[in-house]
Symmetry: C2
Subunit: 352 residues, 2 copies
């Protein structure tokens, strides 16, 4: 069996920079036509000028003959000027602004400290420019249980924000809870959507501890209880157009991830399409797969759908244990060493 | 300020064997008069003969002049014979039998698969011999959320067990939830007690993720939500005699713990007394500290209380970042590199 679908896009991707960028970008370019590229570099991408430069370095790192298009984002800080949003829109290169609550995840120390106060003029300009706000939806107060932080963010920050600015386009990124599902499903109007990662569809929090602590299953927002996973699966396999593909693929070198930093992030770019297909197939909802991977995202962003097609072939393939980096480091992908069905034709035709 | 208390005992300790035993036993012998030594070696200590041999190797590994007394345990398996319990009681060396549900934690693959069926004759003999059953109280079904496994164990295994054998002496080891607290508090008769670790009194599950994944805060049963921590603190600082000190100190070499195995276990022997004192001091309940550390345990086991005294001096001291092992490995203790108050006099007088 094989499926032919419109080429997907990845609406949430970390490509890093330098040698790591060169190592990982082919894995995304193998599958996806476009990707929203997250701006949490060191230093973060806070200006259109920096986004243009970052885009150039991504294009340079691409395999020849790749038609992959990076869609750039700005990192919202306490110092972002509303004029930067105008510049960003004019550039044709920047497609969204990313909100990291300060301290929420990898390289988020420059994030926003007072979204509903200090950041309001920038957000108002984003409404004017129809520029989406991409939200890492967790509060960062260490008194709040880590498994509650998404729900508390929705209740204390996101709802008040949308009451103040009901026309603001918001993507709640990498949702992990039934609370987020309900929030997205019940928001009035068409201004709120969500990306969903492979890991939050296929793993619950037991996977963090199965057979010992599993750093390669650690991401933020952290994996949740099974009922939340099921709620997210139901949401995306129902065909609701407000949910679309965003891998949150986030490479960290093995040694750093396991020991030095314990960084959050799962490297799923090489397996993401196979993983999403598995979810829809197991739910008996393959007819909704293409909308999730290839239609809902561009429709929300107001961009054309891709014209090319890819195939997903129902054929077992083994995920590599790791990918070797030039400097001797390793990248461990999601499902390392395991068998998956649904081989994307792009992988079939090129080597990985 | 200094406190003088009867020398404490550790009613739940992992001493390992070989070089690791030699490295860690002084840390326990520095503080504690006696310790219940867990039998989860490879292969497990399943017979009195093996327990006697293990005891000898512990005594040999002790610093000269140490009066530390190891109290041995047997590892309950599907093949344990009731006669082994008679032998154990006669030996004067074995003081309890440890239940590991198969697959629950480090070296538990030989554990019990059918406690309420196949193991019943052994348990009946334990009632006859007044031999306590020490329980790792978690179900091992991977479908059960890891944070629910203690509660489910109580409801599905421990309650039925005590209905069948109401005279069986049970210690619920390293309790982590308000459910376990309530269970112990409300059991009729004096046959059920619980040990409590420093980590479950001082850390909630956010500590597993604070500033990146923290393997050295990973133990089983895993750290729980703050309300559970608070319930356990309330229980032990209330003076209830059914709760007593059991560190569950569980050394794993750093590299193995961080990368190779992700093993569960926190090495807290060097800091345990300071940590317990911190808990009781912060709760304004120092008057109950000595009963928790030094009376409730021996009273439950029917053993005499220690006669010697130790001092706890309110004086800041810094926990080492790690302890070097002979083979070049490292042991990272709980609270590595942090300052604690309450320096035990035994540490003050000897070097650590």
């Amino acid at each position: 069996m094989e499926l032919s679908i419109t080429q997907p896009d990845d609406w949430h991707l970390h490509l890093r920079d330098g040698d790591l960028l060169k190592a990982v970008v082919p894995h995304s370019a193998n599958h996806f036509g476009r990707a929203i590229v997250m701006p949490n570099l060191k230093p973060p991408v806070t200006t259109t000028a920096a986004a243009v430069a970052y885009r150039e370095s991504i294009l340079k790192a691409l395999p020849t003959e790749s038609n992959f298009t990076p869609l750039m984002t700005l990192y919202l800080t306490d110092n972002t000027d509303p004029d930067e949003i105008k510049l960003a829109r004019k550039s044709g290169v920047v497609f969204a602004v990313k909100l990291y609550p300060a301290g929420a995840t990898t390289n988020s120390q420059d994030g926003v400290s007072d979204l509903l106060g200090n950041s309001l003029p920038v957000l108002e300009e984003m409404v004017e420019q129809n520029m989406p706000l991409l939200v890492h939806g967790e509060v960062t107060n260490s008194d709040v249980d880590i498994f509650d932080r998404e729900k508390v963010f929705i209740d204390t920050i996101l709802r008040p924000l949308l009451q103040k600015l009901p026309r603001l386009k918001v993507v709640m990124e990498h949702i992990t809870t039934q609370d987020a599902v309900r929030f997205v499903e019940t928001c009035r109007g068409g201004s709120v959507a969500a990306t969903v990662t492979p890991q939050h569809l296929l793993l619950n929090r037991n996977a963090l501890f199965q057979g010992g602590l599993q750093p390669h299953n650690y991401c933020l927002p952290v994996l949740k209880r099974e009922i939340h996973r099921q709620a997210i699966v139901s949401a995306v396999t129902s065909g609701n157009k407000r949910f679309f593909l965003g891998t949150d693929s986030a490479p960290h070198e093995r040694q750093r991830k396991e020991a030095t930093c314990g960084c959050a992030g799962i490297y799923n770019a090489p397996v993401a399409l196979a993983a999403y297909a598995k979810v829809f197939a197991e739910a008996g909802a393959l007819e909704y797969l293409e909308a999730f991977t290839s239609f809902n995202g561009p429709d929300f962003y107001g961009l054309p759908r891709n014209e090319s097609k890819i195939k997903l072939i129902k054929q077992p393939w083994k995920v590599p244990e790791y990918y070797a980096l030039k400097d001797g480091g390793q990248l461990v992908p999601m499902f390392a060493g395991r068998n998956l069905d649904w081989l994307p034709s792009t992988l079939h035709e090129r080597s990985i």
